[in-house]
Each structure stands twice: as C-alpha cells, then as structure tokens.
Symmetry: C2
Subunit: 372 residues, 2 copies
C-alpha cells in the first residue's frame, strides 16, 4: 500500500489552529506511527489514550492478549515478536472495547467489526506481496440483480494486457467470499489481484478473469433458511452475474474454462453451485468450507460417475485448527467412499486469511490445465 510509506516517526505536526466545524477541526497533535515493523520482524504498536485504564493487544500471531504499557503522556505501546512473515490481523482492547488501530489506514472492514492489518516481510517476497511485474486491474461494478430486485457490487480482475490484446478470450474464475465479508474483501484483504499478477508473471497461472461477486442475499425473502438463501445466491450468480460478465468481458463460456472457488460460506456456495452444475463449471475449489448438509450432499452427489466424468478438479483445503475442520474431514471421507476424485489439502492454520491467500496461490497453477 503506497500510502503507508507516508508515516513518519513520532514528531509534532502543526495542522491548523482553527476549529469550529467538524470537517476542519484540527489541532496541534503528535503523529504517532502504529504499527511500526522493525527489520528483525518485531512490531511496535502504539495508541494515544490518556483516559484509558487498560489497553491490550489481540493479534493473529498471539495465543492470548497482551497488555500495552502507558507512558507519562498517555501513549500506550508494546513491541511484540519477532513475528512470522505474513499479513497479520490485530486490534486493541481499550477498557473492554475492541477497536481497530486508529493510526493504521490498512483496515479490514468486517461486517461486524473492523480489524487492522500489518504486513511483516520475510527474506523472500510472499505470493501476496506486490512485485515489479505487469499489473492487472480490478474493476468495481454495480449491476442490477433482477432476481434479487436490488443493485449490487461486483469486483472483476482482468490480467495485464487485457486492454491491449483485444482479440484474446480468457478463462474465468468465480471467487466467493466468507460470511463476514463483502465483494471487496478478496481484493482489499485477500489481495487476490496481487496473487494473480505474481502467478501470471511467473507463468505459474494462465491469464484469467476473476469475478468476485457479493455473496449475501438479504433480499431473499420470505424465508431466511440456509437453503433458500443459497438458492437466491445461485440464481443471482447464474442469471445475473454470469450474463453480466459474459456481456462485458471476453470470457470463455465452456465448463473446461470456467472455475468456481470460495472460502467458508463461499466454499459451501462453490460446492453447491459447482457440483450442482457440472455442465457449467469444470473446476471447483472450497477453502475452509461451510460444508453442505448431508441431505444437500445426497442430492449433489447422487450421480458420482457424472461428476467424475465432467469435473476436471475438485479441490478441498482446510487448516487443522479451523473450527470447520471436522466437517471438512467428514466430507473428504464421503468423497472417498463415493469414489469421487479430488485433491485434499490439510494444512496448518485456522479459519483465517493467512490460510486462504496461500490456498488461492496453490490453486491457480492447477486451473484450466488442459492436460488434467
């Protein structure tokens, strides 16, 4: 993130002495840097909160919260680590209240709360770190969902060269988010565009279009049941999103060049949509998926030989500390019993983006491989 380079060490910055209206209320203030990543992988977190009685840090690299210490001016701080190279999430707990770091513009806006993010680099660039390679673009669309009766958001990644190679038609990956997320999360938090840029530049992935729709269906009235919500999502995807994409982008429409993948709730959606429509999706992947119910699986897997015939890849990944691990294990057992070919990736990690960024990076080289 280019604007992160902008933050200086603690120094006094005179902005303006005027006050009186909200938009321009400014005062002499210290510029506090938080987080500050040190060369050895330690990270310092700071919060100016003179009125607080206790401030703690909760973070993806800590097994429990840790207290910050207060200086005479009310600046709380802690230096943690060294921390493993990754994008870590964290928040402060101020007298029991969870808050994102007010000094860090790298915020993961979640449906129910915001968290802050910090990238700790390693010796080698990680798959989601921006490198000096040709960059694709992500387009923010608003489209009319006729099936839901609302206008919704849609993010679409196009690879470098899409604008200039105007005769080329691309394979397409539909990439779905989790229940706490929105259509922007795979880009802003998951860095899917950076992972794609890098994998394509390294010739580990084929140039492809990646479509990131909004996965919630609040307007799927009258029933709020899981099954009805899923049907509403599937209808929106297949009758509104896919035609929109096929009209506005140069994408292949055959199953051999169409993939669907998702995480958590979106992993469940990928399994339902992908296995339910093998004539449209040749590649299906589920990351830490919310597994469909046994009844749904009975329906989806009713004809395993048909799936085996048309599906080029069924990829299931889950971390051992994920709260959905057991459900994923049961699903893998069933796939084996039903003799449905699949790739099982059991890894370290929990229900978290540190796992999902790497799953996407692992999946990309497999997609649209015509030798499979």
């Amino acid at each position: 993130m280019g604007h992160c380079r902008f933050r200086f060490l603690v120094s006094v910055l005179v902005l303006s002495s005027c006050c009186g209206s909200y938009g321009q209320a400014r005062r002499q203030q210290k510029t506090i840097v938080s987080p500050e990543v040190h060369a050895d992988g330690r990270v310092t977190f700071r919060l100016q909160a003179p009125g607080a009685r206790s401030v703690s840090l909760a973070a993806s690299f800590l097994s429990e919260t840790r207290p910050l210490t207060r200086d005479a001016d009310g600046l709380w701080s802690i230096t943690a680590g060294p921390v493993s190279p990754d994008i870590h999430e964290y928040h402060f707990i101020v007298d029991g209240l969870n808050i994102a770091d007010p000094r860090n513009p790298d915020v993961k806006v979640w449906r129910r709360m915001s968290r802050s993010m910090v990238l700790v680099p390693g010796a080698e660039p990680m798959c989601f770190e921006e490198q000096d390679v040709p960059h694709g673009a992500v387009r923010i669309h608003r489209y009319q969902s006729k099936s839901l009766g609302v206008t919704r958001g849609l993010y679409v990644y196009t690879p470098a060269g899409y604008e200039t190679q105007r005769d080329k038609v691309y394979p397409v990956l539909y990439l779905l988010h989790g229940s706490g997320d929105t259509e922007l999360t795979w880009t802003v938090v998951g860095r899917a565009n950076v992972i794609l840029d890098n994998a394509i530049a390294q010739k580990r992935a084929r140039p492809m279009i990646v479509v990131m729709p909004y996965g919630h269906t609040p307007n799927a009235a009258p029933s709020r049941s899981r099954q009805r919500r899923h049907e509403a999502f599937e209808t929106d995807l297949m009758r509104d999103v896919m035609p929109f994409v096929e009209k506005n982008y140069r994408v292949r429409k055959d199953a051999a060049q169409t993939a669907i993948a998702g995480l958590s709730m979106g992993g469940g959606q990928s399994l339902r949509v992908g296995l339910g429509h093998p004539a449209r999706f040749g590649w299906v992947a589920a990351f830490s998926a919310s597994i469909p119910s046994e009844e749904e699986l009975d329906r989806l897997l009713a004809r395993p030989e048909a799936i085996d015939e048309t599906l080029k890849l069924l990829w299931i990944g889950c971390g051992k500390r994920d709260f959905l691990f057991e459900a994923n294990q049961r699903f893998l057992t069933r796939l084996k019993a039903d003799k449905i070919a699949h790739v099982a990736r059991i890894t370290d990690g929990a229900h978290e983006w540190r796992v999902w960024r790497r799953y996407l990076n692992e999946l990309l080289p497999l997609l649209f491989d015509t030798n499979r």
Copy 2:
C-alpha cells in the same frame, strides 16, 4: 452500500462457541445496529462499551460534541436530529479516545484517523445516491511511476457502455484528492462514480473517463519542500499517469477534451498543472483549494492573455466556513484584477465532503461543452 441492508435490530446471534485462535474467536453476542436512521431523519448511534466512563458523539451535523447515555448492560446510545439529508461523518470519543463506529462498515479511512459515515436520505434522491440508471465501473490499477521509482495506485471511472461501444473515444477528467486522502477517496467517500452515473443518465454531463490518481509524493527526495513535492506530482501525472491512461483507455488527448479538477491540496495541484499547461488542459477547477503562493501565481499568471485564449473554463469554489476561504477570496480578487475569466462559486459549508460532492455535480455539466 448494499451490505448495509444486512443489519438487523438488536437481537441475539449465536455465532459459534469455539475460541482459541484469533481468526475464529467468536462468542454469543448481541447484534447492535449503529447508526440507525429513522424515517423522520433522526439517527440513533450505539456503542457497546461497559468499561467506558464517558462516551460522546462528534458529528458533521453537530456544532459541539454530545454525550451518550449508558444502559445497565453497558450499551451507550444517543438519538440526534432530525438531521439534514446528506452523507454525514461522525466518530465516538471514548474516555478521550477518538474512534470510528465499530458497528458501521461505512468507514472513511483517512491517512491519520478513520471516521464513520451515515447517509440520511431526503424526499428526493441526492446527486450522490445510487439510482436505477446504467452504471459505469471504477478500475483499480497499479502502475509503475518511473519518475518516482515506485508502483502506485490509480482509480479510473469508465461510463456505462464503455465496454460495448468500442469505437467511441471519450473526454477525460483528472480528479485529484486532498491531503488526508488517497486515490480511493473520491470513489469510496466522494462517490464520484455515482455522481457521474446519475449526471450522465440525466444527460446533464457528457460520458467521460475520470482518472483519480494518488496525489502524494513521499518519494520526492531529497527535498520535502512544497514546490519540490508539487513538481514531483506534476511529473508523475504528465509523464507516467497520462501516458498510462492514453495507452489503456480510449481518451481524447486535445486540451478541449481534457479537464483537471481537485479539492484542497488537489485543488492547488489542479491550478498549478492546469494553468501551467494550457496546451494540455482546457478545463480547470479548484474546490476549497490550497492556493499556490504569490510567487507561484506570478509565474502561472504571467501571461493572462494566453490563458484567456486557450482556457475554456476556470472554476473556483469555496465554502464560507472553510479555513481556506480567505486565501480563495484573495485568489479571486487577483483573477479579477488580472482580467482572467473564471466562475466563482461561494457557497455555504466548510472544508468537507458535503461541499465537494456537490461541487463535482455542479461542474460536470460545464465540462467539454463545445459552445463555451
């Protein structure tokens, strides 16, 4: 924002009882709605903070902060208004600490602190409210700035129909942000794409490309002087951004079809770049601008007759409560003295987005009007 429809009134939601890792730490919790906009324009704000001793609300519709009241469960709340129809900004002050509303995903991520936003609708839709019209798209690019030696972000709006009318070449507006902002702020906070969609659909504006670059130049070493920073920005814009846009988009390159506009710091940049290069920019607008120094103006306005000959529009807008109002007044006086044709828009309001959204909406009908 579609996902805002998702929030229910206070109700108990059982997410999961598991704990132990940061990514999935969840517990039984109340779903608190904040802000809640009532039909009569009043707004209720809520914060669950049992450990706080005092919680106040600061907001763009209040002249001073107001205390929230605490219930027995530690839920703080206040109902304010009726509030004027607009997008308002607000934050909480918890024991002296400024925080965004943790329950509101509509966050304005600022370089130095985050604020929350709330849209209060009126009887008629406002220019920045999404309506049922054809929607353009916004593309998130990363481009190599050779002049700055870094990879930077760039947002580009394309109007509805851009993808399908492949022979059409469009006029282009370069739209610059303020010093607290980044390349995404005109879209996420300013809603430039919504304003454009509406104005184009109503035939109040010509279909155009809008380019929103990143305006800071942290790498403009060695000098951090204002003049050097500006030169670095101008070089990046003219040698890196504009060639990138002209390569990847179907845009006109003549001054009669090229405009530049910006707010605050970006208003100053627009004046310097636009007036400094009349052969490239036929339309220049400055919103609540940080006015160039007298010495810079001496240089920029050295040949007023040349400016008057080539410039189709010089548009200056400023609110009466803006802390830059006097500087803008002095600039207008000088333009009059130098007999340089311009449009002066003195309005209500301070240094704030409520003003700038409407300035953009007012400016659009004037741009690229070949009768001017």
